[in-house]
Each structure stands twice: as structure tokens, then as C-alpha cells.
């Protein structure tokens, strides 16, 4: 028994070394951001939501895009909790700035860059990710290949800025160097006792891909400024679809 315990220790140590070599540093005391994502965070390496990394969020319809934007805004709110500025780079922006306040962000602390062509978008995102003074960078990028995503990854490894890439209706979904790939879809809200009205926003959060982590599926509700994990039992996904993407 003792032997296996020490073996596990060694495994864990080695795993941590590999993580740190791959750029997943365990957060230092001061810079830790509490996302309150609960079980979702367990899927990531070190059981911590990786900040200073590139996340991509995929959506396929305006409705999904709105849910994804909401989820991103919620993450951004947590990232900007300590203050600072962030950049929102997009081409055809539909985001309504006052809505950001509902996710805990002062909309005047977000600088919007409305790019005129797709080619500049990647260049500007990379340039923005090199700037350490920003809290986070959100970019609405439609298509991106492996090389482009690697460049972004290299930029954030230097600057430790968190990047959230919203990929609306992507043409191809190839491999990318991103730390995680998310898919957010809205699900019906719930009100007790058939009360009239619309309840808190609820999302079906899927992690399609996690570098050095496990994919999974959860239901999360945005309630009073924080994520609320719904304890509806969903089978640990062993879907064939998810295995394919993972």
C-alpha cells in the first residue's frame, strides 16, 4: 500500500512538472482569480481555471452567440474584478455595452475595437495580447488555423493575459493550440411554483476540449453575480461525439 502511495505522489509531482513546462503554472497567491465555477474547474489541470491562456468558445446561431457572449461577459467580470481595462475586438459587433453591467463589469472599462477586415483582426488580437497592462482580451474571430492560434498562445505565455476567443459560425473546426474549447447553449430558465416571468439565465456549458484535462458537460445558472452550478445529474459524458472532438 505504501509503495502505491509514494508512486502516486511521484506521478503527481511529475504531472505538475509537465504542466509547468507546458505553461500551466499553479497560480501564485496574489493573482488568483476566483471564478466560482465549481465542478467545471475540476476538469482543468491543477483544478484551476487557466488564466493567462487562450480559450475559444464556439457558437453556431445568434441565440447561442448571445448565450456565449453572456458567459464570456461573466468570466470577464471575474477577471476584471480587481480593476483594470480590457479590450473587446470584433468585426461586426452586436454587443450592447450597458448589458455588461449585469455581469459585474463597468462598461466604460472596456475598450471596443471595431476592426474593418478579418485580416487585421488576428494581428490586432496578437498585438493586444502582448500588452501586459490589460486584464483580458476578448476577440470575435471567425476562422483561425493552428499557426494563428499558436502565435496567440505564444503571446499570452509572455504576457499572462487571458484571451477569450468567440468563434461564431466557424467555417472549419480544426485543431488549435487553445487551452480549452467551450460550447455554451441557453437552456430554459426555471421558476418555482410556476411563477410568471423569466428566471435567471441558464446555460448548458460544454467543455469540448481541454488541454491536459477532461472534457465535460454541466448546467450553470447566472444568479446574483456569480455562477451557480445546478446539481442535475448528468452522466459523465461518454458520448461518441465528445470523444471525437477530445
Amino acid at each position: 500500500m505504501e509503495q502505491t502511495a509514494t508512486k502516486n505522489d511521484i506521478f503527481e509531482k511529475l504531472q505538475k512538472q509537465i504542466f509547468s513546462l507546458q505553461g500551466f503554472n499553479a497560480p501564485t497567491q496574489g493573482k488568483h482569480v476566483n471564478f466560482g465555477l465549481g465542478p467545471v474547474e475540476q476538469s482543468f489541470p491543477n483544478h484551476v481555471f487557466p488564466t493567462g491562456a487562450v480559450h475559444e468558445l464556439v457558437s453556431s446561431s445568434p441565440v447561442d452567440a448571445a448565450a456565449t457572449t453572456g458567459f464570456m461577459a461573466a468570466l470577464l467580470g471575474k477577471l476584471m474584478h480587481a480593476g483594470g481595462l480590457s479590450l473587446w475586438i470584433s468585426r461586426k459587433r452586436t454587443l450592447y455595452p450597458p448589458a455588461l453591467k449585469f455581469f459585474g463589469i463597468d462598461p466604460d472599462r472596456v475598450i471596443f475595437i471595431d476592426v474593418k477586415n478579418e485580416k487585421d483582426l488576428l494581428w490586432m488580437t496578437e498585438e493586444a495580447l502582448k500588452c501586459q497592462a490589460l486584464s483580458a482580451v476578448i476577440a470575435e474571430i471567425k476562422d483561425m488555423d493552428l499557426t494563428a492560434s499558436r502565435r496567440l498562445q505564444l503571446a499570452v505565455e509572455q504576457s499572462r493575459v487571458t484571451a477569450l476567443l468567440h468563434r461564431m459560425n466557424p467555417g472549419t473546426m480544426g485543431n488549435t493550440a487553445c487551452a480549452a474549447r467551450w460550447k455554451i447553449t441557453p437552456i430554459a430558465s426555471f421558476l418555482a411554483d410556476d411563477m410568471p416571468g423569466v428566471g435567471f439565465f441558464r446555460w448548458d456549458v460544454q467543455l469540448l476540449k481541454v488541454r491536459n484535462g477532461e472534457s465535460g458537460k454541466w448546467q450553470i445558472q447566472w444568479k446574483a453575480g456569480r455562477f451557480d452550478h445546478l446539481k442535475i445529474m448528468i452522466h459523465k459524458t461518454t458520448d461518441k461525439d465528445l470523444l471525437k472532438t477530445g
Partner: protein, 499 residues
């Protein structure tokens, strides 16, 4: 410092240019003429034609009588002014203050410039030899006053260099016309036997005023420097400007970069000591052949950081076309602002210099994408959703009012509300289903209505009743009815998506 002026006189400006354009016309007498009061009048005669007695202002028919095979070309009105302003731009390489002196001349304020060429003689020689080299027949003179330089340039016979304080002696032997006088005054002087300036310049002023009027006295005072005379520079002098003349023409990008760095450093140091920063900078290159190439940058906040400004310029250096090479570079800062030391404290940004870093990032982005791509929004006191935000003018502008969260607002708003087909059986209730882009959405949950009235002082129209609705799949929409229910079949619109 004693002011010094150069006057340049183009003796045959228009015909010289004609010869430059049409070299085969050289050494052939020709004139430029245009119709005036029903006859052709000579506007400019070439030197060869002048030798044969054909003068500017003659009627063409008379000139033809003198010289039957005289060649005549059309004169374009306004050409002389255009030529002079072009030549004045070219002369900016000698001094920042150059003015066109219509007709046929230029005035340069060379105070403090001539020593860069060694001496005034070398300076004047450089100007005249280069203008002559390009085909213009010019004379130039330098003196303490514009009036003296003008007279010596056109009528002087001894030397074009008038030492400080000696303009009276230099003018004494010249005819009265050298004082830029009106034609009637000159005629009267001629009648009275005043053939030289020296013969009347020392007469009592009251006598001169009685006979010739105040204009003569003004002209004398201007020539002698008792009266200030102003010129209108062809390009207004920027208070923040740096110049770099080059010994050899510069043609390569690395060379231009070195020149740019050499100019940025003193400009930024000067701005820094005055605690100012530039918002706009123009970098001009003056080419050997007279062409001017320029690149321009703008910044989002005042900056006097040479490395950052250099990076902004660097993106555009490749657009400069040196051709034969640049011989002068000028860097100007037309728009400057006070640098605010307090700016950094407005936002709690981790680390020092965070805001500067972001401002520099934005400059790089706008340098590539255009000045209009950066937006920042502040709350505006309007209920109408489209009007509830306004764009901030600077990074440091703070919201005057709080952001409202009392009513639900969608995370994604359509730029224009889009028409939807609905089934709404009950008045003042949300519809039970609606059709948007071909898909039918059955509404399961709804909030509302929130009535938003038109702001009558801005725009008239119908009010909107907004509902936040959720369909069977969980998608949440923001829809509204325009106007009252029942009154001639109201229209419904979708305006946004909730997350």
C-alpha cells in the same frame, strides 16, 4: 536678433517654365498671350523676344508687326501664383518662413538660418545656383528689411549682400521704382527730376507727405526698417518643429529611420521639458527634385515617448518614395496637449505605466486600422436603448452618471429592430408565438411589458412596449410592440438577444 530677409526675383517666371516644359522653345522668341477687352495682350515675353523689343503688356498685333514669325502660346490665368507657391514650398528647405511676393518674387525670412550654409554669400549662392540650374532666371538679394531686399534684388547693380544698417546708402543710387511705389507717384517724381532715391530721401517728411502722400513715407520707412512689415508664410510655422538637412541625399529606409530618430529625440525632449505630449505628428521629406513626401501619425493620448512614436512612424516608412533621395527632413507636431500626471490614477491599473502601455497599444492598432476603430462608451441619460450610450472622447473621461441595471437589457442588440410576425391574442400580453427568419418560436415564459416612450424633444413617434421572452428551447429574446394594441394592427419587432 537683427532680422534678415532674402528677396528672390524670377525675371521670366512664366516663359522660363514654358521652356522647362518645352525645351525645343529655347532660344526662340515667343510670348504668352491671353485675350483682354477683345484683343490679345502679351502677358509674358521670353528673353529673346524682349531683346527684339517685345514687352509685356503690348498688344499682340503690334508685336506681330515688329516680328512676323513670333510664336504665340496661350497664357493660363493664375499660373504664376500656383508656380510661386510651389517654389515657395521648395524654398522651405532654406528657412521655415517663406512667402510668395506676387508677381514674380519670393520673400524669405532667413533670420538665423544663413550660418548653416557658412555665410550669407554661400547661402545666397546656393539658392540662386540651384534655381538657375533648374532653368529659372533669378536674381536675389539679402538685406535687413523686405523693402531694401526687394529694391536691391530688382535694381541693384553693385552687390546683392547689404550689410546690417547700410540699406540707406545702398538704396541711394537706385531709381525711385525700387521703393515699390505706385505708377502716378513715379511719374510725378520723374517730372520733378527725382531720378535717384538719394535725392529725396533726406527731404523733410512733411514736404514729402504734402507732395506724394503718406504711401511714399510708408514705403521709405519699410525700406529703412523704421516700420514693421509682415509677410504671410506659405506654410504657417509650427511651434514644435525639428529640421534635419542632409549632406548627401538619403534614399534607403534605414537612412530615413536614422533621420527620423534624430528628429524625434530633440522634439520629444523639448515636449517633455514643457510637460506636453503630441497628439499628431507629420514627418516630411523634401526630395532632390522638389517633390515632398509625407507620413502622418496620430495618437490616442498625448505622448512624448520617442520609441513609441518611432514605432508608429515605422509602419508607414515604406510608403515614402525617395526617388533621387531626400535632402531635408522636417518633423512637426501640429497638435499637442498637456501631459497629465494624474491620468494614471484614474483607473486602478496594476503595475506602473499601465495606462501609457494601453494608450501605446491603441496607437499601434489605430495606426493599422484607422482612427475610427477605437470606441469607449459612457452612459447617457436616455431611456431609448439606442441612445442610452455615448462615445467617450478620451481614455480618461469618466462616466458622469451611473450605469443602470434596474431594467433588463439584452447582451446582444440588433443594429436595427427587425420585423417579426406574431400571434398575440390578448391585449397587453406578450404574443404566444412569433416567427423570426423562418423559424417559429413558441413563447413559454415572458416578462414585461416595459414601456419606453419616445423622447418628444428629440423625435416624435410611437412608444415601444418591450417584453423579455423565452421560447421552448430556452432561447431568450427582447421583442417589442410599436404603439398601442388594437389601434390599426400594431407591428412587432425583435430588438435583441438575452444571454
Amino acid at each position: 536678433m537683427q532680422r534678415r530677409y532674402v528677396s528672390i526675383w524670377f525675371r521670366h517666371l512664366l516663359t522660363d517654365r514654358w521652356v522647362i516644359r518645352n525645351p525645343q522653345q529655347k532660344d526662340i522668341p515667343f510670348v504668352l498671350a491671353s485675350p483682354e477687352r477683345g484683343r490679345m495682350v502679351i502677358k509674358a515675353a521670353s528673353p529673346e523676344a524682349e531683346k527684339l523689343g517685345i514687352l509685356t503688356g503690348m498688344v499682340l498685333a503690334d508685336a506681330r508687326a515688329v516680328l512676323p514669325d513670333l510664336q504665340v502660346f496661350d497664357d493660363k490665368p493664375g499660373l504664376a501664383e500656383k508656380l510661386l507657391s510651389g517654389l515657395a514650398e521648395w524654398c522651405l528647405r532654406y528657412t521655415p518662413v517663406v512667402a510668395a511676393d506676387i508677381p514674380g518674387g519670393l520673400i524669405l525670412d532667413i533670420t538665423g538660418c544663413a550660418h548653416l550654409w557658412g555665410s550669407e554669400r554661400a547661402y545666397l549662392k546656393d539658392i540662386t545656383s540651384r534655381l538657375r540650374g533648374s532653368g529659372y532666371d533669378v536674381r536675389a538679394a539679402v538685406a535687413d528689411t523686405i523693402g531694401a531686399a526687394w529694391g536691391i534684388c530688382r535694381y541693384g547693380r553693385i552687390t546683392p549682400l547689404i550689410e546690417t544698417g547700410t540699406q540707406k546708402q545702398a538704396l541711394a543710387t537706385l531709381p525711385p521704382a525700387a521703393l515699390r511705389l505706385e505708377e502716378p507717384t513715379l511719374e510725378r517724381m520723374h517730372k520733378l527730376g527725382f531720378y535717384q532715391i538719394g535725392s529725396f530721401i533726406d527731404l523733410p517728411r512733411s514736404v514729402l507727405r504734402r507732395r506724394f502722400g503718406q504711401p511714399l513715407l510708408n514705403r521709405i520707412d519699410q525700406a529703412l526698417g523704421y516700420m514693421q512689415e509682415n509677410i504671410t508664410p506659405v506654410r504657417p510655422v509650427e511651434p514644435y518643429q525639428e529640421r534635419l538637412p542632409c549632406l548627401e541625399p538619403i534614399r534607403t529606409a534605414p537612412g530615413i529611420e536614422i533621420a527620423l530618430k534624430a528628429l524625434l529625440l530633440p522634439l520629444c525632449t523639448r515636449l517633455g521639458t514643457e510637460s506636453r505630449g503630441l497628439r499628431k505628428a507629420v514627418f516630411r521629406g523634401y526630395r532632390m527634385d522638389g517633390g515632398i513626401q509625407m507620413i502622418e501619425i496620430g495618437t490616442n493620448s498625448a505622448s512624448c515617448n520617442p520609441e513609441h512614436l518611432f514605432k508608429l512612424f515605422q509602419l508607414q516608412i515604406s510608403t515614402l518614395r525617395p526617388d533621387l533621395g531626400f535632402e531635408l527632413f522636417i518633423l512637426e507636431a501640429p497638435v499637442t496637449e498637456n501631459l497629465d500626471a494624474v491620468q494614471k490614477s484614474l483607473w486602478s491599473i496594476s503595475g506602473t505605466g499601465g495606462l501609457t502601455e494601453i494608450a501605446e497599444l491603441l496607437d499601434r492598432l489605430t495606426g493599422r486600422g484607422g482612427m475610427d476603430i477605437v470606441h469607449r462608451y459612457l452612459p447617457d441619460e436616455h431611456y431609448w436603448p439606442e441612445r442610452s450610450i455615448k462615445t467617450a472622447t478620451s481614455l480618461a473621461e469618466n462616466p458622469q452618471t451611473a450605469w443602470r441595471t434596474d431594467r433588463p437589457r439584452p447582451v446582444s442588440l440588433l443594429p436595427q429592430p427587425e420585423l417579426i410576425q406574431v400571434a398575440a391574442p390578448i391585449p397587453d400580453y406578450p404574443p404566444i408565438l412569433f416567427r423570426y427568419k423562418g423559424a417559429v418560436h413558441h413563447i413559454k415564459k415572458a416578462d414585461g411589458p416595459e414601456r419606453i416612450e419616445q423622447e418628444w424633444w428629440i423625435q416624435e413617434g410611437l412608444h415601444r412596449d418591450y417584453y423579455c421572452v423565452e421560447d421552448e428551447s430556452g432561447a431568450r429574446f427582447w421583442i417589442f410592440r410599436l404603439g398601442h394594441y388594437g389601434a390599426n394592427n400594431p407591428q412587432w419587432f425583435i430588438h435583441g438577444f438575452f444571454s
